[in-house]
Amino acid sequence: MAGWLVRRLVQAGFVMLAMSAIVFVGLHAIGNPVDILISPDADQAERARAIAALGLDKPLWEQYFFFLRGAVQGDLGRSFVFNEPALKLILGRMPATLELAVTAVIMSVLVGLPLGLFAGLYPNSIAGRTVMAGSIMGFSLPGFWVGLMLIMVFAVTLGWLPSSGRGTTAELFGVQWSFLTRDGLRHLLMPALNLSLFNISLVLRLARAGVRETMPLDYIRFARAKGLSPRRVVFVHVLRNILIPVVTVVGLELGSTIAFSVVTESVFAWPGMGKLIIDSINVLDRPVIVAYLMIVVALFVTINLVVDLLYTVLDPRVRLGGRA
């Protein structure tokens, strides 16, 4: 187990190294930030000074080496635009995105799993078919449009929920969170729902497929032949088995929800990382982009690790490290 963990961490290190190199080279290929950052009427001397100040006069490999040396010490460079450490900039926006993404994923499980169980147990009922038809909408409607419609209906027409911002926040562990106040929760609800819609459909369909696959198996028949109540059969025997694929997908989706909540954050003016990365790409603020992508990779690696660990809890046949 310890050996497995060490091996995984070393692998994670290599993944991040490879990622940083790709991002670094790629960013240099797509454009020169100097053209955007420095005013066009600056003279030659001014230009040269600015380029030197940003460290852009050095060859690419030297810049990369410089970046790596800093990264090892926890310094991912300074934003060209804000002149602040990129890491600090991103971490400052992270709680907003984290709380949005986690809420969305929790909602997708809380809504998707029961609906999926239902649709799987009663596949031919009208309600079951309706749930499945509805899930197609969750897949196919574009997120930004659903977001706009939500605002139209709940904010503009009905006036039940606020349409933008985080609302009142409260402090926990030195960070401001929206979910701790009533007003913050009201602000959180709509963007989280918008972000979770796709995942609700995904979890729902997975759960339904799992139930349909598990119900006719011998061990479920045996459980019924033992005289267990239908409740116990479904919530213990079936659910434990379908949780395995659900946990995998929810884990991976948590990563992509955090990384790519850009659209929802834009629609609802949610001040998270997604908004920051879009702005940074527009002005080619390289350090911020690199730092953001590094953080996203680290996040994915961590989530995958946690999912693997959860497997061992859910499925006794899985033993980490390849030993039987």
Partner: protein, 327 residues
């Protein structure tokens, strides 16, 4: 009370509604199992043996349904009984053992969970008591160091051991009847013998009736008191096991016996029953076996009535054969 059979099926019809039509899996089966008796239900794949078993325990799921007939358990009618009532019988008074031990235990739950829930589904007992009863049951089916094995998961057991666990679960409530659906088919021959010995011993000690579903005549010969031979959803011949095996009258039974390899017939070609079991959607009228039967003639196109050629024997055939199957 003692003359009421543990299980009595009368003209049971279990059908499946499919797009291609009504599939008559069990077609007028009548049989009875006395107290402490072992009835072997024999037939090839698709003959309706397993569906008969599932009908008894009330686990026929749509599109299947029991269309007509009676299932009496200790004199009580089970057909039409409400699901909660059936559930109280299941696992407690009627238990079932399945064919594939690799598939009957839930892979993600520990053995103790799966055993204790069986006890606690029917009795209000503490966890500690349920656990100690589970441990005793494991010991009785011959699982070494049952205390440790209780906390194991199914994948840590071999197939034979898993079947022992399933048998232990079936025996937890001392049921009056166990429906065993080919429980030794998936096992090695040596393990098969061990499992048979365990079941035989425990069932006779406790006076448990067994309905032993199998396609293996050698298992029936060693285990059963009586045998019923099933073909295409019907029972074609039944009687005491020695009488039927020594003097099979139905040509299907003779075919089955002839196709069992024997030490005395080395070098001889094994007999085969020509053709295949007819599709349950498209059974020949009259005797369903006539398309594969050498003795069939025009008379067989009507349904043969049930006859009693000897005391304790029943037969559905117009042209009964006599004598042992030629070696």
């Amino acid at each position: 009370m003692s003359d009421v059979p543990t299980l009595e099926l009368r003209d049971l019809n279990t059908v499946f509604d499919t797009r291609a039509g009504v599939l008559r899996a069990v077609d007028g089966v009548t049989l009875s199992v006395g107290r402490g008796e072992v009835l072997g239900l024999v037939g090839e794949s698709g003959s309706g043996k397993s569906v008969t078993g599932f009908s008894i325990i009330g686990l026929i799921d749509p599109p299947g349904r029991i269309a007509s007939g009676r299932i009496r358990f200790q004199g009580r009618e089970l057909v039409g009984l409400a699901e909660p009532e059936l559930r109280r019988l299941r696992g407690r008074h009627i238990a079932m053992i399945f064919q594939d031990p690799m598939m009957t235990l839930n892979p993600v739950l520990r053995i103790d969970t799966q055993m204790m829930e069986t006890i606690q589904a029917h009795e209000r007992v503490s966890g500690a008591e349920a656990r100690s009863r589970s441990r005793d049951a494991l010991g009785q089916v011959g699982i070494p160091s049952p205390d440790e094995r209780l906390s194991a998961y199914p994948h840590q057991f071999s197939g034979g051991m898993r079947q022992r666990v399933a048998i232990a679960i079936a025996l937890l409530h001392n049921p009056a009847l166990i429906v065993a659906d080919e429980p030794t088919t998936a096992l090695d021959v040596t393990i098969q013998a061990q499992i048979l010995a365990v079941v035989q011993k425990l069932a006779s000690e406790r006076g448990t009736s067994l309905l032993w579903i199998t396609h293996d005549l050698s298992v029936v010969a060693g285990l059963a008191d009586r045998v019923a031979v099933m073909y295409a959803g019907r029972i074609v011949e039944s009687g005491a096991v020695d009488a039927v095996l020594d003097n099979p009258m139905h040509h299907y039974t003779r075919g089955l016996i002839g196709s069992v390899p024997s030490r005395n017939r080395r070098g001889h070609k094994l007999l085969q029953i020509p053709g295949m079991t007819p599709s349950p959607l498209d059974r020949p009228a009259g005797c369903a076996f006539r398309t594969r039967c050498a003795a069939a003639d025009a008379a067989c196109e009507t349904e043969p009535a049930l006859t009693r050629p000897e005391p304790g024997r029943e037969l559905r055939c117009f042209h009964p054969a006599h004598g042992a199957v030629a070696a």
